[in-house]
């Protein structure tokens, strides 16, 4: 709570005194803050380099900041050190704000916060006008330092739905903010470069640079399963950020009703065959098949089977994607028998492709259950 935090600051440090106006001394402090974040970025965990920075610093608060970081002190120890240093005492009012800037920066660095964010915390002490000037400076710096990422795709729920999500940029922006940079980065780590570039332009250059750095780091640290889990968590948040007021469950029921009503127009034999295929095929193969299909394609194939098979297919995709698919169904009008046959055959082909291992040798047969094989053959030979 904001007022609680503010009250705590007043209780700890008393009134701040007159806010600093832009003068040579303040400009000098701002330059030191710029050097501080550069030093944190460059030295990383190099304690010796931080000790050197401490020795080279002339001002007490700055010297103490580098020293505490070099000694890997935690946030509580940093606060204690600044308190016992006397720099924050009321007798030294002129330097109190200066000490608070360095305390806040050092504390934030000890919490592992990104240097750009540390810079924003520290420059806030100069008031909104100076802070905005410094933010503009940081934006220019960040633009030049957005790391180059390489192509790396982890199949998962977000990888499948990111194109749809990008159609709602406001909702995606909100989800990124609510999820926070670390979770967003872990989720986007599995997305293709093409989509990552589209995501990065949704955020300002500072945020984009931080996110790109975190994506790079997530790709080095995380296993595919962990990225998939992050994708699912991000998608759950995205689903919660639904802009429409209609409850998701209502949408789901409406969607199901919409295509169940239309089943009267369908060829019963086609419906039976497709349903059997879905019920007999292995879950992991079905999941891989659905990953290769767009929301529109899934919506179309759902029209070609009985309700029992809908449940199975929908249970294999994320809740967010389920909602998208059902929305597509609601918006789509009646279909024809010939169109349904084409959709069912396309699905059967994709299912076959999912059964084929990447290293299948010529002449080697696919390991498909006999009954599924017969149903697929029958479906593909229909005209």
């Amino acid at each position: 709570m904001l007022i609680e935090r503010l009250g705590h600051m007043y209780a700890l440090w008393g009134p701040s005194g007159k806010a600093p106006e832009r003068n040579p001394r303040i400009d000098q402090t701002i330059q030191s803050v710029r050097r501080f974040i550069a030093a944190i970025q460059e030295t990383s965990e190099d304690r010796k380099a931080l000790f050197t920075q401490s020795q080279q610093s002339r001002r007490k608060a700055m010297k103490l900041a580098y020293l505490l970081l070099a000694s890997e002190s935690d946030a509580a120890a940093i606060r204690d050190a600044f308190l016992s240093s006397g720099l924050l005492s009321s007798g030294q009012r002129a330097s109190k704000l200066d000490a608070l800037i360095w305390l806040a920066g050092t504390e934030a660095a000890s919490r592992g916060i990104h240097p750009y964010t540390i810079f924003l915390i520290m420059t806030a002490f100069f008031g909104p006008a100076a802070a905005e000037t410094e933010l503009r400076w940081l934006q220019e710096k960040a633009k030049a330092t957005i790391p180059t990422l390489e192509e790396f795709i982890v199949p998962g729920d977000l990888t499948d739905t990111i194109e749809e999500a990008l159609k709602e940029p406001a909702r995606l922006q909100r989800t990124i903010r609510i999820a926070g940079m670390p979770l967003s980065a872990s989720a986007f780590a599995g997305c293709s470069l093409y989509y990552i570039e589209k995501i990065l332009v949704l955020i300002g250059p500072i945020g984009a640079s931080i996110l790109a750095e975190m994506i790079h780091s997530a790709r080095q640290r995380l296993m595919s399963d962990e990225i998939s889990t992050a994708q699912q968590a991000f998608l759950d948040l995205f689903a919660q950020e639904e802009g429409e007021t209609e409850a998701p469950e209502n949408q789901r029921i409406k969607g199901l009703e919409a295509f169940e009503e239309e089943e009267v127009f369908a060829d019963p034999d086609l419906i039976r065959s497709t349903t059997k295929i879905v019920m007999l095929a292995e879950a992991k193969v079905l999941k891989a098949t659905l990953s290769s299909m767009s929301d529109n394609e899934i919506a179309s194939i759902l029209r070609c089977m009985e309700a029992i098979a809908h449940e199975r297919l929908l249970s294999l995709i994320s809740p967010g994607r389920q909602k998208h698919v059902l929305t597509v169904i609601q918006k789509t009008g009646n279909t024809t028998n010939s169109r349904m046959l084409r959709d069912a055959q396309l699905f059967a082909q994709k299912l076959l492709a999912s059964y084929a291992p990447k290293n299948l040798k010529p002449g080697e047969s696919l390991s498909i259950p006999e009954e599924v094989r017969a149903l697929i053959s029958s479906l593909l030979s229909r005209e």
Partner: protein, 138 residues
Amino acid sequence: MIYWNADLAAKISCSRQEMETLLPYIDHLVDVSRTLHQTGIQPSADQFSSEKDIFFRYGLLLVSEGLAGDILEEILAVLLYVSEEKGIAFLRQCVAAEAILSIANGDDQDTLLRKLLPYCGVDRALAALAKGKTEHAD
């Protein structure tokens, strides 16, 4: 718990009449929030250049950089801590800070109003919320 402090209380103190002037400002904040909720933020454009309130503008710039939650609150608290404003002007900054956090969090209009109206005083907030409820029921 809130650590009330005499200096903070003196800084935030203002008359009932002054508090009344917050309502049009809250309307403005709600309008901005509604627009951003619908259209999103265009980080490449200078979207907030027409916003004259420097505190609110800077907060929106932070939101456009993807900041929210604890870190955003920390920065806004620092801005309020060093603020030279007093009385109603300081209270306006507190309201703006609350609105910025709410926008970053993607709160809907109703939630935003429930967070901002108490800054007008409990009586005024209750009256405004009750009025909103009646209008909603109609």
